[in-house]
């Protein structure tokens, strides 16, 4: 059983997405349209592990976090606008932060926290494009490496990043208290 990959094009050297989207930094007015996408992603994560259960107030939290990070110079939030009938509609987003690594070199790490694309924009190289753009933005903010966080059981995400040269460097193991 091989479910579709969320955002993966096939070639590693695709210069631009096959399904053109318009990618730009997210603005505060985008928050209400990004929140449902962020919640979709978190609810998907919930499928993988009960310890990733989405909180009842997640919607309000999402709006607050997004507003903060849009203003935060250490964060990158990109909005992907659709084309054609979807013109002007946010069909995907990326959220990442720059984190300090006090004991390791390079000193700064760009952490991709969320990449989400509506299903119709998947498998057309858009995810690849989003990954490259966010990596560039993180690098511009001083990150020497880029990392991605996703549920350990999410093999689709694992394959997506592995194909693009990512490997696991830290594992987070959890149990309830």
């Amino acid at each position: 059983m091989t479910p579709d990959e969320p955002a993966a094009g096939d070639g590693a050297a695709v210069p631009a997405p096959a399904a053109p989207i318009h990618l730009r930094p997210a603005r505060v007015p985008d928050v209400p349209t990004i929140v449902p996408l962020l919640l979709r992603l978190k609810r998907l994560n919930e499928e993988f592990d009960p310890l990733l259960k989405v909180r009842d107030d997640a919607e309000a939290q999402a709006a607050q976090v997004l507003r903060q990070q849009i203003a935060d110079p250490k964060a990158v939030v990109l909005a992907a606008e659709g084309i054609g009938p979807d013109i002007g509609k946010v069909v995907g987003f990326v959220r990442a932060v720059v984190r300090e690594r006090p004991f390791y070199a390079p000193e700064y790490e760009g952490v991709i926290l969320d990449i989400y694309l509506l299903p119709l924009y998947r498998r057309r190289g858009v995810g690849e494009f989003l990954l490259r753009e966010v990596s560039d933005a993180l690098k511009a903010k001083g990150a020497g490496i880029v990392t991605a966080e996703f549920p350990a059981q999410n093999e689709i995400a694992g394959r997506f990043y592995a194909k693009r040269g990512f490997r696991p460097i830290t594992e987070i193991h959890a149990r309830s208290l």
């Binding site: 059983m1 091989t2 479910p3 579709d4 609810r43 299903p119």
Partner: protein
Amino acid sequence: MSESTAAPAAPPRAGRRKPGTPAAAARRREDATDRLGRLAVELSRFYGGKIETVPKVPVRSLHDFSLWYSPGVAAVSRALHQDPDLSFELTGRWNTVAIVTDGSRVLGLGDIGPVAALPVMEGKALLFKFLGGVNAVPVPIRVASPDQLMSTVEAMAPAFGGINLEDIASPKCFGILEELSKRLEIPVWHDDQLGTAAATVAGLLNALALTHRTVRECRTVLLGAGAANLATARLLLALGHDPHRLSLVDREGILHAERDDVDELMLRNPWKYRLALKTNGGGRAGDLAAAVDGADVLVAASTPTPGAVRPEHVRAMAREPIVFALANPDPEIWPEAARAAGAAIVATGRSDFPNQVNNSLVFPAVFRGVLDARARSIPDEIVLAAARELAHGAERRGLTAHHLLPTMEEPEVFPEVAAAVGDAAVRLGIARHRLSHDEFLERATTLMGRSARLVRALARAGLTSPMPRASATRRRGA
């Protein structure tokens, strides 16, 4: 719909049903089902099962066993060791299939496990033999996972010329069928998907022809997104149905690319996910009512929920709507109600109404065809060839709104379907036996006709007991 069996056990036919209120009719149907159930238990006890193995060679004396068994048989084994493909000529493998189930979705009974599935698989084996001349072995297996099921089937494949998967829950049935078809060099079929879908498509082709429409231009709604309808959707698309004019509806409403559960589907049911992305152009959202508005065709193959399709749904459809209500035993809408609401053509899964969409019209002939062609697999082109020939079969006796599909009493159609399947296998280059159409037809006619003769001969010789009278078995049971 494996619950739909051959006609002989059918309750009284439509024409002879007494008039009455719908509630009274429903009660009568329930009573009839209960009566049949009691009788089936008694007869199962009386006969101790439904099938047995029978020698196919003469045994003149015990000396003959030096040919049929040791030492003579060693030479046969040596030959097969040299060339395993000879197993299709020197053993009964060419005509033997396994009916494999894990018992995870048996009829409408749900996950009742492999042992409880056995009587159903025995019945299926009887149908295989009686209708298709195929030796089918019931193999309900206790397995913990799809992987274990697949490796078990793989391990037993050397004994069989084909595999019929039966009553395996959706969505795991899709992955199992896909993967086993890849791993095995013999045909693999999942009747709950392909048998029902092929019969549905055959009926639809004729229903569309009768109402002067084509697959390419019609708008279709499929209610229920389980094994049968997902396969039906795939076949319709393969026939050129416009994906934008096809909508699937399940418990959550119209399936579409931005539905809340679509990411979950990507993980749990990629087959349904792919259809969510492809179908429902124009972005309809909502429930069945929103989907059927202006539709030409409604195919309901859902978990039986009486009243799932209501007269107003039918009224909202396009001119001369086509309604297939296939849930068993109770269709999503009763034919009289659908017709009263304007349906031009109605089909169900039941033998006591006209137009029974019945997988027994399909699987015996498909297996006859692929076994005779020694096909390596059963691609969708073969399923479609069977559906088309089945549609032609109904046409030959005259196509009407009440005769969309051949009935089980038109056995002359089945060898034709088998031959069409054989031809398709040759055309696709997956036949090891490249027979001509006439050869396929003759072979199928002989082998399919032989079973009925065999059953009659066994009865005449007193080797199968006559059916005890219903009243007698009831008394004994009381």
